[in-house]
């Protein structure tokens, strides 16, 4: 990083107001050429608003943007592209119907003349070039993006972002779906781009990574600029304290003693499904929290989905002592399973509906008589869970889409708990949720376990599993390669099992 160079981009006193929220309040940010500048903050701190302003998707209410020293207005994405700003969005912006090569060259298609011929050969060459640069060999250029997994899509998105003339690269949680190896490759690329003089804005919740990757870190809280500090001086605890405005040493802390009954809430025996799951056997006791770790293609996603009747399977699933056939989510709910899916926006939340209807959605028999809904019962039910889970809303009628991610997740959790499940299955329960809401969700899970619910969590965040679970199972290529008790659980051995480099099992004597 060249210390004496003039800033590439400077945001001065940027403010942006949405109905009911001051998303940004006089925020300052400056990025030097050849600098990786991280922006951290809880959800709702204003990071995405800031990104959207740079991308030309939103206009600030006040304040100014200086790009290469010149005061600039960015009225739309076209101008943003022209300036050399490239954005990698968290929720990917790819055309599923187009091929990898075509997606990577999308912005070329924006500037070429409409009646000129598409230079597919050039598209392919450019794509091959960028993917090579990223060290990605296993993606076929002609495959439609819809056939790629989420991790590969993320890589394509990154390739697309760096394929043009980039001066400022903005990345919003670019590695949320990447494996550690792929992330490492991404970081190497980012350092390479930095060395080439490109300015990089890096938004992430993963603070350890941010500290090791970035040169400087800017903290936002509730739309306000808090501080910019050198990464060398930053610590995770220090950043969290600035992000939430208080110390959060409670985050991964657990007060429950882990005592559990001998009753089995869920038992899975010799379960196989398609090519993704092979002979899985596991059990979750009432009052126990069991975690499932594994890389994106390990089968952990399919396993939890199987337990909710989303896939066909061979083998036996036992819930509350009874063998059940789960051929649909309905049969799973009837058997006493509740499921909190990973994709909150598309699968979990009924975004257009009210908070109370979201909570009642899985308990319709309980709030209706002869097929007619009882509004009073819906309100009572919703009110119970809003209070119990401390969901922050202005009214029960508030539309789900207007809630923050953390509050949405609490509502979905409320819907699941309202069915009084024997087994609660959570898939990536805190993905994209800010630190404060995370802590609250963990508290709720611990309380539920205390009340005797068996909980199964599939997560790609190891600290979360290690902090919350009584037992952790590790999957690799569709089989269980490791089992760790609470006292044994640590990141390195779990990762080694996840990558298939070792196996580790608990001896019978240690099991309860």
């Amino acid at each position: 990083m060249s210390k004496d160079s003039a800033p590439l981009v400077q945001l001065r006193n940027i403010s942006k107001r949405f109905p009911g929220v001051q998303a940004l309040d006089r925020v300052n940010l400056s990025v030097l050429p050849g600098e990786i500048h991280a922006v951290v903050g809880e959800n709702g701190a204003g990071k995405s608003t800031l990104i959207n302003i740079l991308a030309g998707e939103l206009q600030p209410d006040s304040g100014s943007i200086l790009f290469e020293g010149v005061e600039t207005v960015i009225p739309n994405a076209f101008v943003s592209q022209r300036l050399g700003i490239s954005v990698v969005y968290q929720e990917l912006a790819l055309c599923p119907n187009l091929s990898v090569a075509e997606n990577i060259s999308l912005h070329q298609a924006a500037v070429d003349r409409g009646l000129s011929f598409v230079k597919r050969r050039q598209f392919a060459a450019r794509a091959r070039n960028v993917l090579e640069q990223l060290g990605i060999a296993d993606i076929d250029l002609s495959t439609p993006v819809s056939r790629l997994g989420i991790a590969q899509q993320q890589l394509v998105e990154i390739a697309k972002a760096i394929s043009g003339q980039v001066k400022l690269l903005v990345l919003d949680e670019p590695n949320s779906a990447l494996t550690d190896e792929e992330s490492a490759r991404l970081f190497a690329i980012l350092r390479q781009l930095r060395a080439a003089g490109i300015g990089i804005i890096y938004v992430s919740h993963r603070l350890e990574e941010v500290i090791s990757l970035a040169d400087r870190i800017t903290v936002l809280r509730d739309g306000q600029y808090i501080e910019t500090l050198a990464a060398a001086d930053a610590t995770v605890d220090g950043l969290i304290a600035r992000m939430v405005g208080r110390a959060v040493d409670m985050l991964y802390h657990r007060e429950r003693d882990g005592a559990q009954s001998a009753t089995l809430a869920l038992a899975v025996r010799h379960l196989s499904s398609g090519a993704t799951l092979r002979d899985i056997t596991l059990s979750v006791h009432a009052g126990e929290i069991v975690g499932i770790a594994g890389l994106p293609d390990s089968g952990k996603d399919e396993l939890v989905e199987c337990c909710f009747g989303l896939h066909r399977y061979h083998g036996e699933i036992v819930i509350g002592g009874a063998v059940v056939q789960l051929h649909s989510p309905t049969s799973a709910i009837e058997a006493g399973v509740a499921f909190v899916p990973a994709d909150r926006r598309h699968v979990g939340a009924l975004l257009m509906m009210s908070v109370q209807n979201n909570i009642a959605a899985a308990s319709l028999p309980a709030v209706s008589t002869a097929g007619l809904l009882r509004p009073g019962a819906i309100r009572t039910l919703a009110n119970d869970y809003v209070t119990q889970l401390d969901v922050r809303i202005s009214s029960l009628e508030q539309q789900m889409a207007t809630l923050s991610g953390g509050n949405q997740q609490k509502v979905i959790l409320g819907r699941s708990i309202a069915t009084h499940p024997k087994v609660l299955i959570l898939h990536e329960p805190t993905r994209g949720i800010d630190v404060g809401a995370k802590a609250e969700i963990y508290r709720i899970l611990q309380e539920l376990a205390q009340q005797g619910v068996g909980i199964l969590i599939a997560s790609s965040e190891l600290p979360e599993l290690i902090g919350q679970c009584d037992r952790i199972l590790v999957m690799h290529r569709g089989t269980i390669t490791g089992e760790f008790t609470r006292s044994e659980a640590a990141e390195e051995p779990i990762l080694a099992c996840a990558m298939g480099q070792m196996t580790h099992f608990i001896s019978e004597g240690e099991k309860r």
Partner: protein, 345 residues
């Protein structure tokens, strides 16, 4: 989608094995439609001697042309993730306006120009309402369907417009106008079919070869991805509607020149459904991003050959509509039911 994938790979010399390429061709939606079409033709050839004659085939070619020209436009609109229900009304209004201008003594070029401009303007209005106007195109064009039909009724006072020697059109103009609708190129190929072939060719180049066509696919695939890449989403969609409007007008004018009569209350009523059906049978997706000109042509042919075959084999005309409906359901259904993209949930 399939055509996109193959056209991208078609020019790649490495990385794709022959068997992979054959698999892609077999998987393509067009292949299924083509096989269905060939089976139909073989069947008709066996049961009806009249089917496989030059005369009958050219006849089919003429019958499908007007729907076909519009289906090419609809392919652009559907791929961009919009829909146009107003094509039947544009078809009527443009044709009738051209006819009235001719009767009023306007020179042929002016009548044609104004007829086509009406189509272009209607398309632009549809496009503007569906983008900057923030209306779903289903609603915008449903409204425009009525508005344009109403204008046509007002303009003609509900009376039929008939072009013939006694309508006061100059003999030269009359014969030139009739040639576009009823003439035959080299005394063999019906002019309507010539127009359909030309429109198909231009449409194919525009959609699969040019940057504009690429943008149409991008916008239909994900308008967010297209927008953040700097592609002008609204402009692209408006242009798709304008192309549709232009082609609906062309079709309407050809229809008047062929018949040579039209009536605002009847001409082109319900034609949008045939047009959409042809594009959808050919693989265009109502959820955008998918479809090809080749597929649409095959879809148009399926409908044309089916209608012709039902007539040749003496099936009651009342059955025809029902059978065509079943074919639409089967064509799209087979694709979905056998698709590898099918999910358990």
């Amino acid at each position: 989608m399939a055509q996109q994938a193959t056209s991208a790979t078609g020019q790649r010399s490495t990385g794709v094995t022959m068997s992979e390429r054959i698999k892609r061709v077999l998987r393509a939606r067009e292949t299924g439609v083509l096989i269905a079409l060939l089976l139909m033709c073989i069947f008709l050839w066996q049961v009806s001697p009249a089917f496989l004659t030059v005369r009958n085939l050219l006849n089919i070619g003429r019958q499908i042309s007007l729907i076909g020209i519009m289906a090419i436009g609809m392919t652009f609109v559907l791929i961009s993730r919009e829909i146009d229900l107003s094509v039947g009304s544009i078809y009527a209004l443009s044709g009738l306006a051209t006819g009235m201008l001719l009767i009023a003594g306007a020179p042929l070029w002016l009548a044609l120009l104004i007829g086509l401009l009406i189509g272009v303007s209607a398309g632009a209005a549809n496009g503007l309402l569906s983008t900057y106007g923030l209306l779903p195109s289903f609603i915008a064009t449903l409204g425009m369907m009525s508005v344009l039909r109403g204008i046509a009724l007002l303009m003609t006072n509900g009376q039929p417009v008939t072009i013939n020697e006694s309508s006061g059109v100059a003999p030269d103009t009359l014969s030139a106008f009739f040639f576009i609708g009823q003439g035959r190129l080299l005394d063999v190929i019906p002019m309507q079919l010539v127009f359909f072939i030309a429109v198909s060719l231009i449409g194919w180049i525009l959609l699969s070869k040019t940057v504009f066509g690429f943008r149409v696919y991008a916008v239909g695939g994900s308008d967010k991805a297209a927008r953040v890449s700097g592609i002008k989403v609204y402009q692209t969609k408006i242009l798709a509607f304008v192309i549709m409007g232009f082609l609906a007008a062309l079709s309407g004018i050809l229809s008047l020149a062929f018949l040579p009569s039209g009536q605002a209350g009847r001409t082109g009523v319900g034609v949008e459904l045939d047009v959409i059906a042809a594009a959808v049978i050919g693989g265009a997706s109502l959820s955008g991003g998918e479809g090809t000109i080749l597929g649409t042509i095959l879809g148009v042919l399926i409908i044309g050959v089916l209608r012709n075959g039902l007539v040749l084999t003496g099936v009651s005309p009342f059955w025809q509509e029902a059978i065509i409906g079943l074919v639409i359901i089967l064509a799209v259904g087979l694709d979905k039911w056998t698709s590898s993209r099918r999910r358990a949930a």
